[in-house]
């Protein structure tokens, strides 16, 4: 066996569409392909961007998010590692110290846990420890949350562990456009980013203008970063639903149903969990005076707790009712045939909206 035998090199030939440089104009992309495109475009403009992890090379990832990257950029730029998550993050740390921008994949949420020490004690702290002399521009992509009938350890909503850890930026897109822009922003960030991908959205689709998306990152562009910015996903005036990532679909559907019933619900997509966009969230809540926070993770000491705590601290006198939560129960994620009882759904959200003490307003 020669050195090259196990080492695919850049090829012309049939690359898969998303990794193609010539992809342009209006395109119907899956969420997954938008992520692939973001990595490919970043790799094309910056040779220090590397992609690695388990099964990301030849296979293109178990969700095919890295599909075609090895073929297009060669094994030196996108490659499989031994099966060891602490190893992956630790090696990424070293590579980032030495000028690279690693974009690594943890195969599923719970399989990032072996890397917890490297993430909390090094990745999160290096910039602070060195007074900014060493920044770690690492992106840790983690498919997360449920809704796909996955078995144990494959459906954890693990964001609380990361958002509580100072030094990490934590992002989670919920639209095809955000999948592209937020991943590009994450890769461009000098700080380490935990990039949480709601796996049930991988095959959701949208038609987007690829050129316009790319133009945001072109020379002279003044497009603002998505980091630190929440978006109003739907206007509404009676109450505010605050959600992100895997819970956005349920929040929007609940607002749709409520509209039909004459209740106007505003929906905020937090999307940047850290840094948190207090301004947008508080303005939204003040405008309605009522809020429900929706998240799939167990509720106890979670991102949802934080949002509730912040809102009541900052908007107390604008509130007509307590801020309520619709979250996962405080139990391990259920087996596939029970997850439907666990996931925050439209009915549970609407029931909770009903509890916002409407009689008093």
């Amino acid at each position: 066996m020669t050195a090259m035998a196990h080492k695919p090199q850049p090829q012309s030939g049939t690359a898969s569409p998303a990794a193609e440089p010539e992809l342009s104009g209006m395109q119907t992309l899956t969420f997954a392909k938008a992520l692939t495109l973001a990595m490919a475009d970043s790799m094309a403009v910056d040779p220090s961007v590397l992609v690695f992890g388990e099964d990301v090379g030849t296979l293109g990832g178990v969700f095919r998010v890295t599909d075609g990257l090895t073929r297009r950029f060669g094994e030196d730029r996108c490659f499989d590692t031994p099966l060891a998550e602490s190893g992956i993050i630790g090696m990424a740390t070293g590579m980032a110290i030495n000028g690279m921008k690693p974009v690594v994949e943890m195969q599923f949420d719970a399989f990032a846990y072996p890397a917890f020490e490297q993430i909390t004690s090094h990745v999160a702290k290096m910039g602070n420890r060195t007074k900014g002399k060493v920044r770690l521009p690492i992106v840790i992509r983690i498919p997360y949350a449920g809704g796909i009938g996955g078995v144990e350890h494959h459906c954890d909503s693990s964001e609380a562990y990361y958002v509580h850890t100072p030094g990490l930026t934590v992002l989670t897109p919920s639209t095809v456009t955000d999948a592209y822009t937020m991943l590009r922003d994450a890769i461009a960030s000098p700080d380490p980013v935990i990039f949480l991908e709601p796996k049930k959205l991988y095959f959701s689709k949208d038609t987007v203008d690829v050129d316009a998306l790319r133009a945001r990152y072109g020379a002279g562009s003044t497009a603002p970063s998505t980091i630190g910015r929440a978006v109003i996903a739907r206007e509404g005036s009676d109450a505010t639903l605050i959600a992100y990532g895997p819970s956005m679909a349920a929040a929007l559907a609940a607002a749709e149903t409520a509209a039909a019933e004459g209740r106007s619900l505003q929906v905020v997509d937090v999307r940047s969990l850290v840094p948190f966009d207090d301004e947008t969230v508080c303005a939204a809540v003040r405008s309605t005076g009522r809020a429900v926070v929706i998240a799939e993770a167990p509720g106890f000491a979670s991102m949802a707790s934080e949002i509730v705590a912040r809102i009541q601290e900052r908007c107390f006198h604008s509130l007509a009712a307590p801020v309520l939560r619709v979250t996962g129960f405080d139990i391990p994620f259920p087996a596939p045939r029970l997850e439907k009882y666990y996931l925050p759904g439209v009915d549970r959200i609407l029931d909770t909206v009903e509890e916002l003490q409407w009689e008093e307003s």
């Binding site: 066996m1 196990h6 388990e54 099964d55 090379g57 030849t58 296979l59 293109g60 178990v62 499989d80 590692t81 031994p82 099966l83 060891a84 602490s86 190893g87 719970a110 399989f111 846990y113 072996p114 009938g149 078995v151 144990e152 350890h153 494959h154 679909a249 349920a250 559907a253 106890f300 129960f329 405080d330 139990i331 391990p332 259920p334 087996a335 596939p336 045939r337 029970l338 439907k340 009882y341 666990y342 996931l343 759904g345 439209v346 009915d347 549970r348 029931d351």
Partner: protein, 385 residues
């Protein structure tokens, strides 16, 4: 050779040179792929070909294992199960694990070891409950002295060490055998488990089913060591490598390791060379990362056909046995079909019952919320959206 006093006191080890920790120069094979006996020369131990009765029993278990894999693959295609990681082609490793253990011993398997789990006597429907998706597990580990099939890779190796350590402290002669894959050998927990086992000199046999792949990633990306069995040296325990498609060799090598552990000789590491004939699971497409030609090379090495040929040529396989084995396997297959085709309705109230031995006030509150929702007859469509 190792620094552990108990290791040195074990009669089999006394006076051994350090190199004994290294595996045999070639993987142990007692029956070749063509079904002929190969002799037992040149290995580090005088491994004996098991007797006909043992091999016939083993053959029956292989027949059962193969049938279970086929049936499960079919059921997953029919949507009766959430997922099935097939072990077609690897059954000999799992059968050898079972046959080397007593009922009072423990087995710690992975997600790919359903055949081994059934071989421990676990009720088939209990074994398949987690694969069907009704709950995370279906059997009581204590009833069968068998750990739950573990997904977070290599973590179960430490549980095996703990069970063995507890048994040793109580003076029991329990042996624990734990399975893992080639990929799992790269995880930190693999290292910590082997080291803890060696340092505490506990009776654990680590059996790596090296099936050449971790999903799509080939062995060369897990290790460039001469073999995975060489990892034993760094822990001060003996390593051995064996043809993982030769049940006779597996029984000899694993059996030797188990007896060694039982008699106070401490832990050891066995690497079985085998091949995953099918995709990683039904969700995987192996054609993306390996060629049909590569897979074809392994077809003639099949563990089942090899042993059948040997037993047949040696005149050990009575037609009545063959028929009985086929019938037994078919009966289990039918149990699986019937069981998995029967609609079950997992009870959502149980979601809150077992998180703590006594549900917390918080969980009682949440259970009431769900119960109220269900009582209000809310449509599942709503809950699902």
């Amino acid at each position: 050779m190792t620094n552990h006093p108990e290791f040195m006191e074990y009669p089999g080890n006394a006076g051994r040179a350090e190199g004994y920790l290294l595996p045999s120069e070639e993987p142990v094979q007692l029956i070749a792929a063509d079904g002929s006996a190969t002799g037992n020369d040149g290995y580090k131990e005088p491994y004996q070909l098991p007797g006909p009765a043992t091999l016939v029993e083993g053959y029956g278990r292989l027949v059962m294992g193969r049938r279970v894999n086929e049936q499960a693959n079919a059921l997953v295609r029919q949507g009766r199960m959430a997922v099935y990681p097939s072990s077609t082609g690897q059954e000999a490793c799992q059968v050898a694990a079972d046959m080397s253990l007593r009922g009072s011993d423990w087995l710690f398997p992975t997600y790919r070891d359903t055949v081994a789990i059934l071989g421990r006597g676990v009720d088939p429907m209990e074994a398949f409950e987690s694969l069907r998706g009704d709950w995370h597990s279906g059997f009581d580990p204590h009833q069968y002295n068998t750990g739950l099939p573990t997904t977070p890779l290599a973590t179960q190796l430490l549980h095996a060490v703990g069970v063995a350590h507890a048994a040793k402290l109580r003076g029991e002669d329990t042996v624990v055998l734990t399975l893992c894959g080639d990929g799992a050998s790269s995880e930190g927990d693999f290292h910590e488990a082997l080291n803890f086992a060696a340092v505490f000199h506990v009776p654990v046999v680590f059996l790596i089913q090296n099936n050449q792949y971790a999903i799509s990633v080939p062995l060369i990306r897990q290790s460039v060591a001469p073999s995975l069995a060489h990892k034993a040296v760094g822990y001060g325990m003996p390593g051995e490598r064996v043809d993982g498609n030769d049940l006779a060799a597996l029984l000899a090598v694993v059996g030797h390791a188990v007896e060694r552990a039982r008699n106070g000789g401490g832990p050891s590491l066995v690497e079985a060379h085998t091949y995953r004939m099918e995709s990683h699971t039904n969700a995987d497409d192996a054609t993306r990362y390996r060629t049909a030609a590569e897979v074809a090379q392994w077809v003639p090495k099949d563990p089942l056909l090899r042993l059948q040929k040997y037993l047949h040529d040696a005149g050990h396989l009575a037609p009545a046995d063959s028929e009985r084995f086929a019938a037994d396997a078919e009966a289990v297959a039918k149990t699986l079909r019937d069981g998995l085709n029967t609609e079950t309705v997992p009870d959502p109230a149980e979601l809150f019952s077992f998180v703590y031995s006594e549900p917390t006030p918080q969980l009682r509150e949440q259970a009431r919320l769900l119960a109220d929702e269900l009582a209000a007859g809310q449509s599942l469509e709503g809950a699902l959206r």
